[in-house]
């Protein structure tokens, strides 16, 4: 699964640490998601989408290998 967390973070002009604080996770979690090393749980994906006020599909999408 790929994601556009970094893009949306840039649009909202917030740091990884700030996003992590707002949705209540560690900074390394945001870092791992952005570097495509970690697929977040549905709850966390929904929280991220909610924070950026977009639908979850606009941030997360399937890859051919999924």
């Amino acid at each position: 699964m790929k994601n556009k967390v970094k893009v949306h973070r840039a649009i909202h002009d917030i740091t990884q640490a700030e996003l992590a604080r707002r949705i209540g996770v560690s900074r390394q979690t945001i870092n791992a998601i952005e570097s495509q090393n970690y697929v977040p749980s549905t709850v966390l994906a929904l929280k991220i989408a909610c924070e950026f006020k977009v639908r979850v599909e606009e941030i997360f999408s399937l890859e051919d290998t999924d």
């Binding site: 390394q28 970690y38 749980s41």
Partner: protein, 160 residues
């Protein structure tokens, strides 16, 4: 599942205080039979059997005299490592829990490979030492691997 058994982060320091001295003193106890006299006490044994000499203290359900340093060190390593593993990180979340689970899996696999090598290459009474150390290596590998992946991911996040 693991989150049900987790304890406060404050315990982690206590875990290290138990683990490190026990790990340092452990090999002295095993190799040099370092047994201070004041730790020889009467203990209750569910079962006691000395393999080489038959003695009146052999048998089930009785009080025996035993130097308890090795028991204390073993408890120190096991309890210390368990406390470290079970204590939450200050920023505990689903990703850290996943790292913890993967560290456990890694420790299990590496320990099994080490054990396979030891079975193939260590013989006789030396294998007794392998068995003694192997009581603790799964927990120790788990702690070390978890601390390492945690450090690496924090370092990576800091660097960006």
């Amino acid at each position: 599942m693991i989150s049900k058994f987790q304890i406060s982060h404050k315990w982690k320091k206590f875990g290290w205080i138990l683990l490190i001295p026990s790990l340092v003193l452990g090999p002295f106890n095993v190799y040099y039979e370092f047994e201070p006299e004041f730790l020889s006490v009467r203990v209750f044994a569910i079962f006691n059997e000395v393999i080489i000499f038959s003695n009146p203290e052999d048998g089930p359900l009785r009080f025996i005299t035993n130097n308890i340093l090795d028991e204390l060190l073993a408890i120190g390593v096991i309890a210390g490592a368990l406390i470290i593993i079970l204590s939450r990180e200050t920023d505990e979340d689903e990703y850290i829990r996943l790292m913890r689970q993967e560290a456990m899996f890694w420790a299990f696999i590496v320990n099994s490979i080490l054990l396979l090598l030891m079975v193939c290459f260590i013989y006789g009474m030396s294998f007794l030492h392998v068995m003694i150390f192997n009581l603790f290596t799964p927990l120790i590998l788990f702690v070390l691997r978890f601390q390492y992946v945690l450090y690496r991911s924090r370092h990576k996040a800091e660097a960006q």
